[in-house]
Amino acid sequence: MIRLGLKNILKPMYLATVHVFKRRFTIKYPYVALKPTERTIGRHIYYPDKCKECGLCTKFCPNQCMELVEYEYQGKKRKGLQIDYGRCMFCNICVFYCPTQALGITNAYEILAYDKESLVYSPLRLSVPPETEKGIKMVSVRFYETRGLTHS
């Protein structure tokens, strides 16, 4: 026979009722913009002037999503970084290892596209800062203080 503990039945119902009037957590995202934090990892930003074309970022990328490609920059042919965001997993190791801080991270998290080709960012496209959105400053560029080729 089941003993009916009345308190153990009414208390959950009371708590459920109370929750009807509590504050919601949901952010109505497409209507309301999300607020990224200072450190949110979003799209990269690339500074061709600083880049020495050493290729450390491509070497350390765990998913091989980066490539040095030839392109035309200020009338000169040179090599630059191209990122395939279809493969990128935003681990940020490339930024960590860049010796000249030519690669930074912004907190622009909206990197959507309708096809895979438009997810491949050419060097020129990467060097354009991402658009600021509806009053929220998206472009806080971040580097890591230590640089270079050691785990430090």
């Binding site: 959950p12 119902m13 459920a16 009722t17 009807v20 919601r24 949901t26 109505k28």
Partner: protein
């Protein structure tokens, strides 16, 4: 003239059109309330106000989907049971009064009719589960049959007290008998038993065993897709809503209420309150196991219901003026 009147009642109010409208509203209300308890927002995009037309969008989506019939299913029953389920569920609507005159069939044995309709569901569910030819469907169907049969008895017994006081099986006279006081005041035990049994009959948590999602997928509707699935959902919501309408009629005084609102509004408001109570119960308890469910049904609810009948008898003997 009578024929036109009947046609209006069947097709518009409180027939088909009304059922659809109230269903859209009830489902929207349930989902919104449910979401609120969950700290969610619920339907948001469709409709002018807070996703109010979400159900219509859902139904269009169901209708647009492919209907898959498993190759080894019994095709005749597999395709007809959804329609039968909706028809049978909607049948009870015919005897529920929304005001003195707003009733499709004025029928002296209305309550008996409702109980008879309730007793049809196990057969439909068993047929559905069997026709699907799926182990999960079959397990679900068997569970449903056990559950619905076990809870049909306390449901009927708990209504007996009301019948004894009002001396009628006619739902209109039952409501009229409550003009002095609502029956919930003299039948608290009956109300409790009826509420729990109605929960079980409409397969809501904590008694959603036949369609326990984590255990047996969707129980007896596992194999259904598209519009057939949608029809079953309609049937289930209808059963839920009719349960709350019956509780409203039997214990909460039906359309009775202060004059500033029309009687129909009172029925809807009261049934929504019952629905809210059902939602609160639904969200605050886990589902019980089959053996526990049957134990609650046979060993607790039925003795309580019988106790209620005895209590009513004593009440009638002691206070004869209570009987109308």
């Amino acid at each position: 003239m009578d024929l036109i009147d009947l046609a209006i009642k069947i097709l518009i109010f409180p027939g088909l059109a009304f059922i659809i409208t109230i269903l859209v509203f009830a489902v929207w209300f349930e989902r919104k309330m449910w979401a609120r308890v969950h700290l969610r927002i619920g339907p948001l995009h469709v409709g002018k106000y807070a996703g109010s037309l979400q159900l219509i969008a859902d139904f269009i989506k169901f209708a647009g989907k492919e209907t898959i019939i498993p190759s080894k299913a019994d095709k005749l029953f597999f395709q007809t049971t959804p329609i039968i389920a909706v028809l049978v569920a909607g049948l009870s609507m015919a005897v529920i009064p929304f005001s003195e005159n707003w009733i499709v069939f004025k029928f002296d044995l209305g309550l008996l009719f409702i109980l008879a309709v309730y007793s049809l569901f196990p057969i439909i569910i068993l047929l559905t589960g069997w026709a699907s030819n799926n182990k999960y469907s079959f397990i679900g169907a068997l569970r449903a049959v056990f559950q619905l049969l076990a809870y049909w008895v306390p449901l009927g017994l708990s209504m007996l007290g009301v019948v004894m006081i009002s001396h009628s099986l006619n739902l209109v006279s039952i409501v009229n008998a409550q003009s002095k006081f609502w029956f919930i005041l003299v039948q608290p035990l009956g109300f409790l038993v009826c509420f729990i049994a109605a929960l079980a009959e409409s397969e809501r948590t904590p008694f959603d065993i036949p369609e326990a999602e984590g255990e047996i997928i969707w129980g007896w509707i596992t194999e259904y897709t598209g519009i057939n699935f949608g029809l079953f959902m309609v049937a289930n919501y209808l059963r839920l809503y009719i349960s709350s309408l019956i509780i409203t009629t039997l214990f909460l005084g039906g359309w009775l209420g202060p004059r500033f609102l029309p009687p129909i509004a009172w029925v809807i408001i009261k049934s929504m309150i019952v629905l809210t109570a059902i939602i609160i119960v639904k969200t605050s308890f886990p589902r019980v196991r089959m053996d526990q469910l049957l134990r609650i049904g046979w060993r607790i609810l039925i003795p309580l219901a019988i106790l209620n009948v005895a209590f009513t008898l004593a009440l009638i003997q002691l206070v004869p003026s209570i009987v109308v």
